[in-house]
């Protein structure tokens, strides 16, 4: 879609972006519908801008290697591991777990995860929820195989995969119902 070239990261690829010492530069980021200007080393991963400069809580540091998904955000609708993507590479609109709900109304995917009490510590949930949002907003009619495939590469150390899979199934069914207009 509209995400910048170079954002397509190998799902399990460790991408290292260290080494060059650049001067700080200013970057304007569109995050959850608001514009933010951040001054940072161009090589700094987006995650640190989101958390430390913009104040987001949902995307979290898990590995810094694009191997776990805890830092996942959507860039123009595509899941991106913000722990490895340099802030200078972001061109599209960034959406985080913080921005999913409409006021006090959770996104249907959040509502399903709450209903199923998916997760335990909930630290990893940006990975599971944002990836599910990307999958189901594109098309909620998904088989269990599609779902497991889309969730590959995400980690949940509390091993709550059963509840997560039930939550994604519930969200898919709810969103498909809403799409048909009988929700």
């Amino acid at each position: 879609m509209g995400a910048a070239e170079g954002l397509r990261l190998p799902k399990n690829g460790a991408v290292h972006l260290f080494g060059t010492d650049c001067m700080d530069k200013s970057f304007t980021l569109d995050v959850d519908g608001r514009q933010h200007t951040v001054r940072a080393d161009p090589a700094m991963p987006l995650l640190y801008a989101l958390r430390n400069d913009i104040g987001k809580r949902g995307p979290r540091f898990g590995c810094g290697l694009a191997q776990c998904g805890a830092c996942t955000v959507l860039v123009d609708g595509e899941p991106v591991r913000s722990c490895v993507v340099p802030v200078s590479a972001i061109r599209g609109a960034v959406r985080t777990l913080d921005g999913l709900a409409s006021g006090d109304t959770p996104h249907p995917v959040q509502a399903a995860f709450i209903a199923e009490e998916a997760g335990q510590c909930e630290y990893c949930m940006s990975g599971w929820i944002m990836t599910t949002v990307a999958l189901l907003e594109e098309n909620p009619h998904r088989s269990d195989e599609d779902i497991r495939g889309a969730l590959a590469g995400l980690k949940c150390r509390c091993a709550t995969h059963m509840a997560i899979l039930r939550a994604v199934r519930r969200a898919a069914d709810e969103m498909a119902k809403a799409e048909r207009g009988d929700g």
Binding site: F18, R51, Q67, G119
Partner: protein, 764 residues
């Protein structure tokens, strides 16, 4: 102590250890030193009097109730369950009960999270406190209403005269006019898990519970999923610096030289060196990360490394001398039975080191100033974290007071790296004189967190001429279940403590199976061996979910299966014939019935049309007053070596079930984490150190590996009260999988993890 030569900072390690003083190397500030030589334990915090009711419970002017809980919830909903117990005893709605936990300044020490005992132990204390609180409130109401207490009734926090319900007074009104909870409650004088309370008021019988036994939603989940909860990682303080650590190049390597100029172009970067403790701080997090990557440290590797590696580990264990041993059970004469047996059976089972590998590696914030340290931590035992911080900083000349405040972090399954990260933050903050937030990087989490111990189990059985099993000997030899105590209240129990020169204080114990099997002769014994390195070892062991549970019961419940097949007996029937405890038999029958168990006295080796084999296996074990049996159905693909655990059926007896919905989710998490450890997890290491440093080199279970279905049926035993729940299902999973693979293929897997390569090799 330190001199500058050619742009490098040099110092002599001996000298440094003698004074145990830290060096702060800053480009813009003069050298600062502080003393960290003290080893005395600071007195534990005893500010809150457990013998007072208001230490445990408060009632607000708006009628809300606060419970101050001295344990921890990490997403298993135990705080919600405590609120359920309080709501029942006080006769209030559960949604008006708030549970505060994990702050050493506000909650008395009930031991933190430990052994899935949150409800079993502290739940009963809260039940007693809430019952006594209700009585105290009733007595004040009786005086106000002019009616004896036994003629009053309470609903929804409002006390009414039973015969004239219009005469009433609310709890909120009572606390506005008096201090009913400023009253004593009987305390047994102990802290930690052993703390008990009792009052004049008798708690209601569990059978009268309204809220206990129902699926109240977890209190924390909505805010967490809406990114509105404040995790430890979201907390910050004014003037807070970001810290990152540098670890020895090899286990045991010591600092020879630090190139202070190597980070000079990073804004505000400062270097902290104390013995082999090396860290950097910077005002901005990314700068701290860059500084840690760029800081040049020369390590002295003359006394470093391990004497073995993960490929030779189990041979090492077999050959190593024991530092401690015990016989946990011994009846009959095992040796005589084996000597006189018609047939003997011997098998060995191997378990690797496993990493806690939390979802995120350790993080903490510490603020050390004016003789006081405050630590924000996700450690399971913040009371110990506070004591450890005070002990690490204090010495003969100066003592510190300490407060630890727990905040949510990545899941924790025992003595993880959380407490080590907290102490890193404490040392950095004390040195730089500012609040410091430390975040370990992924390779530190896998590489330096405490590990679950590796072991070798030898099982022997004696079978007589008529096919009866006469003797069973279980012997486990391995690293201690805790080279480091699961508490973190002493510098010698902490990585930072080791790196600044505090000696490790290991405790050497292993474990043995928890079951009720009866054999004419049975012996359970263990031997502990010394750690591969004693100081600052990346393989130091500590409690990791169900310490030694999966290791021992993988072997014991596999061998019970081997004995069953060796005597041409169905594995379920073999177990039912030998368990002495009726609760054990009940869960075995429950799991078997739920799974539609088909008796078989030999492996069935059922092959599907797609070439894959399918089989079922059973295993059971006791723990912490609970008992669980599991039947697993596995599909084994001989072409790839992949094992898929397709279905799991659980017969569970956790005594009284307080919250069925959250308990089932907790059980599922334990089952799947145990699956992950059985199928995938092994810490690889060479003589130069740990090589499993990320999720590629330490794979864990993913969504594709999850079963299609997990069914749990509870044998609810309200008369027993709540028992330890969650963790007890971890230990039954490994053998259930191994036994299912045997039924599927006729091949016995005796080395965890069951990687594809190993399974392929085993299937030939």
């Amino acid at each position: 102590m330190a001199e500058q030569a050619g742009g490098a900072l040099l110092f002599a390690r001996r000298e440094l250890l003698k004074g145990a003083a830290a060096l702060l190397v800053s480009l813009n500030a003069p050298l600062v030193a502080w003393s960290a030589g003290g080893r005395a334990n600071a007195p534990p915090q005893r500010d809150l009097d457990p013998a007072r009711l208001d230490t445990w419970l408060a009632i607000r002017g708006d009628g809300r109730v606060t419970g101050y809980w001295g344990k921890m919830d990490m997403g298993q909903g135990v705080d919600t369950a405590i609120a359920q117990i309080v709501a029942d005893e006080l006769d209030v709605r559960v949604d008006v009960v708030d549970i505060v936990f994990g702050d050493t300044a506000r909650c008395a020490d009930q031991g933190g999270a430990s052994g899935s005992n949150g409800l079993k132990l502290s739940g009963l204390a809260f039940r007693a406190a809430a019952a006594q609180a209700r009585l105290a409130l009733l007595e004040q109401a009786a005086a106000e209403l002019g009616t004896p207490p036994d003629e009053l009734q309470v609903a929804d926090g409002v006390v009414r005269v039973r015969r004239r319900p219009s005469r009433k007074v609310s709890y909120a009104d009572l606390v506005r006019r008096g201090e009913p909870l400023a009253a004593p409650i009987q305390w047994n004088g102990k802290y930690g898990n052993g703390l008990t309370l009792s009052g004049r008021a008798k708690p209601k019988p569990w059978s009268e519970s309204r809220v206990v036994g129902t699926s109240v939603p977890r209190k924390d989940i909505r805010d967490k999923l809406l990114a509105r909860a404040t995790f430890l990682h979201d907390h910050s303080l004014p003037g807070m610096l970001h810290g990152r650590m540098l670890r020895p190049s090899k286990p045991g390597a010591s600092v020879r030289r630090v190139e202070r100029d190597s980070v000079k172009d990073i804004p505000g970067a400062r270097i902290v060196v104390d013995g082999d403790f090396v860290g950097v701080v910077a005002p901005r997090e990314w700068d701290a990360i860059r500084a840690a990557r760029k800081l040049a440290v020369e390590w002295d590797e003359s006394d470093s490394g391990f004497d073995t590696d993960s490929n030779s580990l189990h041979e090492w264990i077999r050959r190593a001398g024991a530092v401690e041993s015990a016989v946990e059970h011994d009846n009959g004469d095992v040796e005589a039975e084996i000597a006189g047996a018609a047939r003997t059976l011997t098998a060995e089972y191997e378990w690797p080191f496993q990493s806690h590998a939390r979802m995120a590696p350790a993080a903490a914030i510490a603020d050390v100033r004016d003789g006081h340290v405050t630590v924000w931590t996700d450690s399971q035992k913040p009371w110990d974290t506070a004591r450890g911080a005070a002990a690490l900083l204090g010495d003969a000349d100066k003592s510190f007071t300490a407060r630890a405040i727990w905040m949510p972090g990545p899941g924790s399954y025992g003595r993880s790296d959380a407490g080590d990260g907290a102490m890193d933050a404490v040392l950095l903050s004390a040195t730089v004189g500012a609040p410091v937030r430390v975040q370990w990087m992924r390779d530190e989490g896998h590489g330096w967190d405490p590990k679950g111990p590796a072991s070798v189990v030898t099982c022997r059985g004696a079978i007589d001429a008529t096919g009866n099993v006469r003797a069973y000997h279980f012997h486990i030899k391995g690293f201690s279940r805790h080279d480091q105590n699961s508490r973190e209240d002493r510098p010698g129990e902490l990585l930072a403590g080791h790196l600044v020169g505090h000696e490790s204080t290991p405790e050497w114990t292993v474990s043995s199976p928890d079951d009720s099997y009866v054999f004419p002769a049975k012996r359970y014994s263990w031997q502990a061996i010394a750690p591969l390195r004693r100081q600052a070892s990346p393989l130091r062991t500590a409690h990791f979910r169900d310490p030694y549970g999966p290791e021992t019961h993988f072997a014991s419940e596999s061998f019970i299966d081997e004995l069953a097949y060796a005597t041409r007996t169905d594995p379920l029937e073999f177990r039912l014939a030998r368990v002495a405890d009726e609760r054990d038999a009940a869960v075995l029958r429950t799991a078997a019935e739920l799974s539609g168990w088909q008796p078989h006295a030999a492996p069935r080796k059922r092959r599907r049309s797609d070439g894959r084999y399918v089989g079922t296996g059973i295993a059971y074990a006791q723990r912490s007053g609970s008992v669980n049996a599991v039947v697993a159905e596995t599909v084994v693909d001989p072409a790839s070596g992949r094992i898929h655990v397709r279905r799991i059926w659980v017969g569970a007896d956790h005594g009284l079930v307080v919250n069925p919905f959250t308990l089932d989710r907790t059980i599922e998490g334990n089952l799947l984490q145990a699956m992950s450890r059985t199928l995938f997890e092994e810490v690889q290491f060479t003589r130069d150190g740990v090589r499993s440093l990320d999720w590629q080199s330490y794979p864990i279970l993913e969504a594709a590996d999850a079963p299609d279905d997990v069914q749990i049926r509870h044998v609810n035993r309200p008369e027993l009260g709540p028992q330890g729940a969650g963790e007890p299902t971890t230990r039954v999973m490994p053998a259930a999988i191994a036994n299912a693979v045997f039924d599927a293929t006729g091949v016995r897997l005796r080395r965890v993890p069951f990687t594809r390569a190993r399974v392929k090799a085993a299937l030939g």
